[in-house]
Symmetry: C2
Subunit: 134 residues, 2 copies
Amino acid sequence: MTSAPEPAPEPDERLSLVFSALADPTRRDIVARLTAGDATVNELAEPYDVSVQAVSKHIRVLEDAGLVSRSRDAQRRPCHLEAEVFDLMTKWIERYRRAAEDRYRRLDAVLERMDAQDGPPVPTPRTTKEAEAS
Amino acid sequence: MTSAPEPAPEPDERLSLVFSALADPTRRDIVARLTAGDATVNELAEPYDVSVQAVSKHIRVLEDAGLVSRSRDAQRRPCHLEAEVFDLMTKWIERYRRAAEDRYRRLDAVLERMDAQDGPPVPTPRTTKEAEAS
DNA sequence: CGATTGGTCAACCGATCGGTTGAATTACCT
DNA sequence: AGGTAATTCAACCGATCGGTTGACCAATCG
């Protein structure tokens, strides 16, 4: 009972966990430091002026988000940065960055056409309502 | 007093705001829908079964994070998705994704060397403690 | 003008968060 | 076996979060 088999969260909740985990500056700093190599809880806790328990909790959050994994080394539990998750984030972000770019391009095209002819009276970009109707 | 000039948050806090804003699935959904075009608060609130005030708050959070901007159109306040912020996130993520990759490459090199000679007795990756000493 | 539409402000509520302290657990070391 | 180092568990605390309801602007329409 001590180790539940982790019911494998669906990707949307996974994203929530990852973003939420990285919303805390201390947690981001821990991630940054782990890029230099694996580290134990005590090593990670040393630079901050909070209790070791607090850092342990932070690591737990990162672990639940899939950002770090841990192995066993005697009584130590070294933390290891998982790279895979960054791909997940990059994919999510890239999708919307690209969409925004496309929107810019479309707007540019409209402006160009407006410039070529005289002024059509609808310069406002389409709302989602209008988009649904198409 | 009603409109403070926004003291321009430093990049680290900015990252906290962005990640925190995107940690909520409703907010991510709003962002997704805004890629199809600008939309008003009421339009954005319509699909969800929460109050308009709640959605208004969500939009406020996205705005504070710099993810959306708003203009005026009569009594309407159309929301517009800001693309710039995604670059900030991508830059942050890419940095650590790359670092993780480098770490893999270094490990591969070590393993190769171990394979060429007989076995050097230190297969464990360096800890941050050790990294500091170098 | 008064009524209505679009949106926000204010106060409140239960849940979660980041932090604490104290006790328990686990594995090593004489 | 006893001691101690590394980590986690448990209970608690104040602050913030996501949500509600009700009142309050602000701008348009009759």
